[in-house]
């Protein structure tokens, strides 16, 4: 199979185009801007729409409008931009409009820095804006997955009528790797709810206002049921050397690749270490963690943050196995320092 | 002989009185004997014979209370 060398951000953008994305609405922010730049070059050539919006608020509302027409549309941003987009994401989730939202994440809070980070985990996995809602969150760990997940994201978005987020560290956005190009998605999804002018049918209304108590509760119950269905069907994780693992490291995104190396090194030193890599951050793959907990005496969450995913691990394990944390921000932990942490914990626990 | 005729939908009327204010022939007034579903005294054609069918009443009505016919 022929491979092409692509930067993560461009692989993601090309993946979206292959998925049939024909509308990109964005606002520049490092380290996500290359996605917008790629779309600005490509969209006019394929009959798509590219608009550089006046703000993140406008960009996400353009996504709201674009998705309402039934077209596959997306936006991409980074931490501070995602904070601004939360208003629109809440509306999109309530209106059940399929779209792709990309967070090429960097460190916060505030302006923070432009170093890769995973500290938007809470924002991404808890809905992020006002009200009871979730987005599906996919966390790729390389250029190939940047492309594959962009396609997958649009399919999931249409399947469940839900905004899907791809959260990838700035490292992945800039990382260049050889990838196999995917085929374009040709199947068209029927969207009878879309607004496109009411010729030959009754008018469609896209609305998020529910003034009556019963109506509001029913709406929320409907969404809650959908989220339960997604939790039942779409949890994804990659498990590595966990069958006999006594120390299970949990990490996602680029961090999981780094941890994998540390796990291999730990095994060479006789420590039964393993890795679980959540691929869907929401729904969180708690069953994979419980499975990995069979022989485990200790879990270790490694994150490029001050500790966020650790809460989901603790919820999944419900006290059965203790969970330790190792994380940095501003720096991405390297294999050697993770190995040292594994060795330290193994010695302490007598593993 | 009236040149025009108003057809009223009193259940839509909120008694704002704009039609009464602007009718050049004073055809319309409040129906003090009736209270509609919205709790208002709706409008009524008090002098139907004076209606010219100019439709000014309907033009200023915010609530689509009035249809107008003309000879």
């Amino acid at each position: 199979m022929d491979r092409v060398l692509m930067k993560g951000n461009e692989a993601l953008a090309e993946g979206a185009i292959l998925a049939g994305c024909r509308g990109f609405f964005g606002y520049p922010i490092t380290p996500s801007s290359e996605i917008a730049e790629y779309m600005a070059r490509k969209m006019p050539k394929i009959g798509g729409v590219f608009v550089q919006a006046e703000s993140e608020l406008a960009a996400i509302n353009m996504v709201y409008g674009g998705a309402a027409t039934g077209a596959r549309v997306m936006t991409a941003s980074s931490g501070p931009g995602l904070s601004l987009k939360q208003e629109g994401i809440s509306f999109i989730a309530e209106a059940e409009l399929p779209c792709l939202i990309v967070n090429i994440s960097r460190g916060g809070p505030g302006l923070g820095g432009i170093q890769p980070a995973q500290s938007d985990y809470f924002q991404a996995t808890r809905g992020g804006g006002h009200g009871d809602y979730h987005t599906i969150v996919l966390a790729p760990s390389g250029s190939q997955e940047m492309m594959d997940f962009a396609i997958e994201a649009f399919e999931l978005a249409d399947k469940y009528r839900i905004p899907v987020m791809i959260m990838a560290e700035g490292t992945l956005g800039n990382l260049m790797e050889p990838i196999v190009m995917r085929e374009p998605v040709l199947n068209k999804v029927d969207k009878p709810w879309a607004i496109s002018g009411c010729q030959g049918r009754k008018p469609n209304i896209i609305n998020t206002l529910h003034l009556g108590s019963e109506e509001l509760e029913n709406r929320n119950l409907h969404l809650a049921n959908k989220y339960k269905l997604i939790q039942a069907q779409e949890k994804r994780a990659e498990s590595y050397l966990v069958e006999d693992a006594e120390l299970v490291v949990v990490a996602f995104g680029i961090m999981a690749r780094i941890v994998k190396k540390a796990v291999v090194e730990a095994r060479k030193r006789g420590i039964k270490a393993g890795l679980v890599r959540p691929i869907t951050l929401w729904p969180f793959p708690d069953e994979d963690l419980r499975q990995a907990a069979e022989h485990a005496r200790l879990f270790l969450s490694v994150e490029i943050s001050m500790g966020q995913m650790i809460q989901d691990i603790q919820l999944a394990l419900a006290g059965r196995v203790p969970v330790e944390f190792y994380g940095r921000i501003g720096f991405t932990p390297n294999p050697e320092e993770i190995l040292q942490e594994i060795i330290r914990l193994a010695a302490r626990e007598g593993l | 002989m009236a040149k025009g005729r108003v057809r009223l939908f009193p259940e839509r009327c909120k008694a704002c009185g704009l039609c009464i204010e602007f009718c050049p022939k004073d055809v319309l007034g409040f129906d003090e004997e009736t209270i509609n579903m919205l709790g208002y005294h709706p409008i009524k054609d008090l002098k139907p014979e004076s209606c010219t069918g100019c439709a000014i009443c309907a033009v200023v009505c915010p609530d689509l209370v009035i249809e107008v016919e003309r000879v």
């Binding site: 509308g23 409008g65 | 704002c16 009185g17 704009l18 204010e21 200023v60 915010p62």
Partner: protein
């Protein structure tokens, strides 16, 4: 006898929720009449705002989308770009358009988006109970300017039609009022012209409509129209501010 006035097809039969004497009902009807006369109902998509007209999707008999506060022009932009042969209108109040949605409206105009904006200016936030808006007149008492709007504190009321007419992307900008039958008819002509400007693809179009809010002004519906004439029209002059010829 022949019918000379009846409900336009582009309005549903729903009874509106507006207060007695509120101008929204008139403005809805004028827009719907224009849609009927241009035969574009089935190709029109409307975006309603947050504010008194938040429920407008129940009243217009065409595809409708309810926006977040101030964001209607951004939403309309994306829909129009993806479906260029449809007619897009946003229906926005003065809090929505001139305050929280200032960036969206200015940039939609600057980009020359081929959409029509119906801007209803009644000098305050109606739905939330009569708070001060960017369009509140000097000296006007509202619930958040209880001693009257003062220049030192709140600055000057904003003139949106004038402001947006300075953008090259604006093809038609007009201010009208609905205080009497003649001005109501002028308003309808302006709305139609704005939709025709959109049809011809000339650029952004907006009709700012001075509108009465008897409830929050504390006046009767008839007094409210007189107040509009005596106070609003002198500060917000009526007329066309930008007309781009094809």
């Amino acid at each position: 006898m022949k019918k000379v006035f009846q409900r336009p097809e582009s309005l549903t039969e729903a009874r509106n929720h507006y207060c007695p004497g509120c101008s929204h009902g008139i403005i809805h009807r004028l827009l719907a009449e224009c849609m009927d006369e241009m035969n574009i109902r089935e190709k029109t998509i409307g975006i309603c705002p947050v504010g008194c007209s938040v429920l407008a999707y129940d009243y217009f008999n065409c595809d409708m989308l309810e926006a977040a506060h101030g964001r209607a022009p951004a939403i309309a932009t994306a829909i129009k770009r993806l479906l260029p042969d449809r007619y897009l209108f946003t229906y926005q109040g003065d809090g929505d358009l001139a305050s929280i949605g200032m960036a969206e409206i200015v940039h939609a105009s600057a980009r020359g988006e081929k959409i029509t904006v119906i801007f209803v200016n009644n000098t305050l936030y109606g739905m939330t109970g009569g708070q001060m808006a960017p369009t509140t007149l000097l000296g006007q008492v509202t619930t958040t300017s209880p001693y009257g709007r003062k220049v030192e504190n709140e600055g000057y009321p904003m003139k949106m039609a004038e402001l947006l007419s300075s953008n090259e992307g604006s093809a038609y900008i007009c201010r009208t009022a609905v205080n009497n039958p003649a001005n109501i008819n002028r308003t309808k002509r302006a709305i139609k012209k704005a939709l025709q400007v959109q049809e011809k693809g000339l650029g952004f179009s907006m009709v700012e409509i001075l509108s009465a809010c008897p409830t929050n002004w504390g006046l009767s519906p008839v007094e409210a129209l007189k107040w509009m004439e005596n106070n609003m029209i002198p500060y917000y002059p009526l007329g066309e501010f930008k007309v781009k010829e094809d």
